[in-house]
């Protein structure tokens, strides 16, 4: 059967300065050792991952964004209607951490509290060159309501944990919202409801809902 009723669709964007390891993180997460062999094409910009957390089915669509500065202005096109964002910085590069802060500001301004944030301090295998103190980063994260993770795409440390925690947080957010206003919240990421059409019942009017485009 084709309908994926009862499953959640979450969109997650990866944001961060160039070369901090966004692409590496998502590749590491989605194309684990077993998988690298059967995916012939390496496409890093859009990846799907299905999770099942204690019976709740989640479809993660992970969007890697363009990192070059000249594309910065395109950010909103990519992150609109996202449920979660992974903000990546390189622990050896202080500037990349500042960049994370500016992304947080922008996201909170544009999407408010609807979006779940995690901040990833990547390249922990280069601990000896660390330029961003863990304490600062964690303090900052808790201040802005984000969860902080230390990751190494190279050594596969903390990557799965980060995405799993993010997913759980997105689940909570959506469920809270559903509980608050049950009939209203099915805007973009929620349970996919199959519309039942009876013999003599008129199908629902076409949705005027925006498909993620303003």
């Amino acid at each position: 059967m084709a309908s994926n009723s009862g499953s959640y669709n979450f969109k997650v964007v990866l944001l961060g300065e160039g070369c901090v390891g966004k692409t590496s993180l998502v590749l590491r997460y989605v194309e684990d050792k077993f998988n690298t062999n059967h995916v012939s094409t390496v496409q890093a910009s859009f990846l799907n991952k299905k999770l099942n957390i204690d019976g709740k089915r989640i479809n993660l669509a992970i969007w890697d964004t363009a990192g070059q500065e000249k594309f910065h202005a395109l950010g909103p096109i990519y992150y609109r209607s996202s449920n979660g964002a992974v903000l990546v910085y390189d622990i050896t590069d202080e500037d990349s951490f500042q960049k994370v802060k500016s992304w947080v500001k922008e996201l909170r301004k544009m999407l408010g509290a609807d979006i779940c944030l995690v901040i990833a301090g990547n390249k922990t295998d280069l601990e000896k060159n660390r330029h961003v103190s863990l304490e600062d980063a964690e303090n900052y994260a808790s201040k802005v309501g984000a969860i902080h993770f230390q990751t190494s795409a190279k050594l596969n440390k903390g990557v799965e944990d980060m995405f799993l925690t993010l997913t759980q947080k997105m689940l909570e957010t959506v469920e809270e919202k559903e509980a608050q206003n049950a009939p209203l919240s099915r805007q973009n990421s929620q349970r996919r409801n199959v519309v039942v059409v009876d013999d003599d019942q008129v199908p629902p009017p076409p949705t005027r809902q925006c498909c993620g485009n303003s």
């Binding site: 084709a2 692409t23 390496v42 099942n52 964004t65 209607s81 039942v196 485009n213």
Partner: protein
Amino acid sequence: MWGLQYDENVHDNPFFNEIITHHGDLVVKASQEKWVICIPRAGVIEPSEIQVDIILDHILVSTASNVCFTLSKKQVSIQNKEITTADHPSTPIRILFEETCYIEGLKYTIFCLDRPLFISRAICEDNRFRVLETLHDCIDFIWSENLSHVLIKIQKLCSSFVEQNRGLAMENLQNQKDLIGSLFSQCLQIVLKNRTLSDDCENIKIAVETYMQSCLDRTLVKAVNTVTCFGDATLNKTVRNCSDLQLRDLNIPLKFCDIVTSARSELSKINNYVTILDKVNCLKLTFNHLYSTSICLTSDDILQILVFLIVKLNISNWTSNLVYLTHFQFSSLNVSNETNFLITSLEAALEFIKSDEFNKIKSSQQTENPVFQSIITNDLTQLQDLLKYKKSKKSDANLCHPLCDCERCTKSIGSSHNVTMFNEKGQSLLTYATTVDRPEMVEFLISIGAEVNSCDYFGKTSLHYACAKGYQDVLLILMNCKADVNAKDHDGNTPLHVACNNGHENCVKALFYTSKTLDINCINKYGDTPLHLAIKWNYVGIVRSLLENHAVANVPNKKSQQPLHLAQNYYTERLLKQFNAHLDSLDEPEFTHPSASTKSSHCKDHGIRAKGVEQLKKIDLLLKAIENNDFPLTCFYLGFPNGSTTYDFQSKCHPLCNCEKCDDLEGSPDVVVERINVNTCNIDGFTPLHFAAKYGRTELLRILLDSQALPNLKTYKTLQTPLHLACIYRRLLVVKELVKCGNCEVDTQDYKGNTPLYYACVKNDVKIVEVLLSNGASCDVKNYQGTSIIKEVQEKTLFGISSLLKKESEENDFL
């Protein structure tokens, strides 16, 4: 999702349930050892078949390579999301999806398979899960669901929709969406009428929607083209002006050259399709070409390649395609799927092209030569120095003869600093100065004897480049210095062709102003006239200019396309027909609502079109004067005797005054010579009477009417009469004046089918409504949406008006 992917909840799958309930230890082990559990999708395996050995066949022990073993020690290989077994090497089994489970503290991976492994049975095509990817798939699907009888019904519904909504293109986007959306509901109703709910409900919706789009064919595409035509014109202008963009300008590594080429030929087909599904599929295939490389492509690469493809492809309606894809999907609810990613990527690429960042990229002009360098830096003194320096030195050069142009001598001159020198593209200094928009340099170079009409290796003159880049200042200098306005480059393009292709209306107009010998219907190597090019790229303004200057609209090009065939939106189409009445019979019937078109005869409906730019300019000045309430100036432009006023418009405020008004007087003595007909209209079809009505110039209006101004002329686009405007802008006195002029039609319908009374009611202007009603305005006229005025008024709860109307219609009934 479009082309819905297979999905099922494996925890409802009997095969998986069997494992969970009877072989829990296997799951625990799988979690520890990172084994993968394969589950045949629901329904492909009989419950009785689910035995232990079969289950062991379906548990894969992961290895580093793509060959691995099952727990039953059988070998399989995994590639391209397909599993190949030794017993059926030619029919691999699809992995429909992969799921990572975190359940009760365990973590394991599941592959859901299209068929069971190692169970030989006839592979029945019908039984395979379908992903709808094209129109073809959809029609097949409808047949396979025994729904073929609905096809003809949907088709009929669509044809009558097209009949009834001839004005679709003139509607705004939201209305278009609503109309198409309700058509979709109707189509769906036909299908679902005699049907119980099916599992494949989503697929049915997709199939129906896709088939509906194919029935609407170009109608819908053209409507969206029309809504987006100005956006597309702007985009095309940007794109045309950087058509010499190279891969390296975008930092695209050369190793991508091959995939870019194949992706390009795929994407070039996007306009061959009319359905969203097919267009999305075209995007997907394009991306697949990109992914076919072994090099890892990041979002940056993809974006840059897309930008490059858009610039290089000959497609003129990207915005329209994007709007169509994003706004006209009704059966899809899901936003976070791959389709969405494809469309978003296209959107991002288009957005980038429109941004300033892209402007910066445009191929940079680089040169080593100091003379050319001085032109770039706009350093006139240095340029003079360099050329002077060479002049003295030139006498030393051993030329066979001062005017010799043998190879040796040319070479010695060519490589030297001299006004005739040229760069590696064969561009003279003058041409080069033109390409970088340096008017002073151009003037200087011509003054020291630069050849105005010299060509580069592409056969392009300086004038070509001025037109290509839209540099009007340079163009005017060149025209002033006798540049050949009809020079052809190696593709047979004249400067006018180039200006039209690149969307530079300023240059097109400048060419008309400055040249009497311009060959407006000249054809290039492909048989295209400038009109062909302007139409193709949606430059409505240029199309109008060309037509006003008597461009011929029925010249076929080498592909036998007449300009009309290239028209992608209703604006250009209508312009062409307006200017060439005989074209009407050529193509589909003219757009206008059937009831409106019964009395459609352009000369009577609309004002007299201004002939040529000069007259247009005059009528614009006249209308401006009306708008500014400058009564004397208005009379002056109309050539009315100043009987009604004592203002002496021939005299300035002061003999030497140059205030605006006096300037106008001075600058336009020839304007007065040829007086403007009172019924002349501007490019949008507005006559002086329209303006007088709109701005409430009652006195002027009276004079105009006295001077044979026709009261019932309509504007081009909105089909509104002066009375419409007077009601919209609530000009009571004007309305009174118009209705009493004798031959004013009170119930004319505009492009939406609304009468003046409608507007007066909506504006809640009781006085005007009274005047209209007492002059016979009817309150039961329905507009093209089918709403009558009374209904509208009731909906808007305008009680005062409502009672007025009721009284009126009761009286009528009584009579």
